[in-house]
């Protein structure tokens, strides 16, 4: 079936064009063009915008704004985003990373969405022409989002940085068994004073491990200290089952990998 591509120089015009039935926004195309190649007939037309802000990264102090069309490769090589390079490099192989955008990753169903796991732990906000919303709110309702995502904003973590782990069976590139990101703050005595932990593949989209976050508060990052958090790591999860791993397996290994990440 013939697919049309409409390119607009502004997000505003692209948003207007997206209102037509059968249209879909085209980011890097690694999921939508793949779907079209596989015979997804629900899409008859792609819309994209080439507005320069969509491809821009701005870092001012610890505040970061990444345009939605920025690719994983651009993040991985950005001198001020070293904290996120590991998470960006976790997405696909080199060619995929040159194409896969941050905006598209927000919509990627499990087992994909590894970079979004990092953004969730960072407490990012997602921007559209209608304003900004916390990433958690955005992810919960992403199917009903019809506006083009323009940017992602967050503060770079100060101490301890962003801890990120992707578990896959094939190295160096493989689909996730699961991915975990954590942003922790610690008091001078080492006790955890704030914890944001995000999980990938433990639901149909990235989710927070809220019970584990709560159980970490006031605890030190030792085997004994993190034990209560690991015991509740799987609370509220509903992992996917796919050719890589069953839901049961993902729940079984989550505490092991979370433990390794926290003790690293």
């Amino acid at each position: 079936m013939a697919l049309a591509l409409q390119t607009f120089s502004t997000v505003k015009d692209a948003n207007a064009a997206l209102k037509a039935a059968g249209t879909r926004y085209l980011g890097g195309g690694t999921l939508v063009v793949r779907a079209a190649n596989e015979g997804d007939v629900s899409v008859s037309s792609f819309v994209r915008s080439t507005e320069p802000a969509l491809s821009t990264i701005t870092v001012s102090g610890s505040e970061v704004r990444i345009g939605a069309s920025v690719t994983m490769a651009a993040i991985a090589r950005h001198p001020n985003l070293a904290a996120l390079a590991h998470a960006a490099r976790a997405v696909g192989g080199p060619a995929i990373r040159n194409m896969a955008t941050v905006g598209g990753n927000l919509f990627a169903p499990a087992p994909y969405g590894d970079f979004t796991v990092a953004l969730l732990a960072l407490g990012a906000t997602v921007g559209t022409d209608d304003g900004e919303v916390p990433i958690e709110t955005f992810l919960a309702k992403r199917e009903s989002n019809h506006a083009i995502v323009t940017s992602i904003g967050f503060s770079l973590p100060i101490d301890g940085g962003l801890r990120f782990l992707k578990v896959s069976r094939v190295k160096p590139k493989g689909v996730s068994v699961l991915s975990i990101a954590a942003v922790l703050k610690q008091a001078p005595d080492g006790a955890v004073s704030s914890a944001h932990i995000a999980l990938g593949c433990m639901g149909d989209r990235p989710m927070r491990a809220k019970a584990a976050e709560k159980a970490l508060l006031g605890r030190k990052l030792t085997s004994d200290g993190i034990a209560p958090a690991l015991a509740v790591a799987s609370d509220g999860t509903s992992p996917i089952t796919d050719p890589i791993a069953s839901a049961w397996y993902r729940n079984e290994v989550l505490p092991v990998h979370l433990g390794r990440l926290l003790l690293a």
């Binding site: 697919l3 085209l26 690694t30 063009v33 793949r34 192989g93 080199p94 194409m99 160096p172």
Partner: protein
């Protein structure tokens, strides 16, 4: 079927064609322009056989719409040999028996070329990482890795 114009350079030569709207770059290159060096293995982004270099970056032509390449400089494996002389990567692949059925070879060579263009003396790990999006069902990968390392050595000897 609606046609749309595309214009880009392919291996240094200007190309201008009318293609089916929404056609992938892979289909445009193979069916319209006649460059069959990028191969269609999976059309899902998984095998890397369709890899080409667009404006210096490795990309999958099966997931790239041809229209998005207007004004771009595209390199494929068919453009590597010069005046009948094989590119060092092509020579090394032949010598190391890194190409058996050959289906993955043009994609592997594209992935290796962007690596060597940026990192002329890569480590083995860097070669493995650079080829990690490309699948080979024949060689077991080791001859390919060795071929890339050999091409890097011969490049640096030529430069010395």
């Amino acid at each position: 079927m609606a046609k749309t114009p595309v214009q880009f350079t392919l291996n240094g030569a200007e190309k201008a064609e009318f293609i089916d709207s929404g056609a992938t770059l892979l289909n445009a290159l193979r069916d319209k322009i006649g460059d069959t060096s990028p191969k269609g293995g999976c059309h899902q982004g998984t095998c890397g056989a369709c890899s080409v270099i667009i404006d210096g970056e490795l990309r999958l032509s099966c997931l790239t719409l041809a229209e998005t390449c207007n004004g771009a400089a595209i390199t494929t494996t068919s453009g590597l040999s010069q005046g009948g002389v094989l590119h060092p990567l092509q020579r090394a692949f032949l010598d190391a028996f890194a190409s058996q059925c050959g289906f993955c070879t043009p994609g592997m060579i594209m992935a290796a070329k962007v690596l060597l263009d940026r990192t002329p003396n890569p480590t083995r790990d860097e070669v493995v990482e650079a080829l990690s999006g490309n699948i080979c069902r024949c060689t077991g990968y080791e001859p390919i890795i060795q071929a890339v390392l050999t091409a890097a050595r011969s490049n640096s000897q030529n430069a010395a």
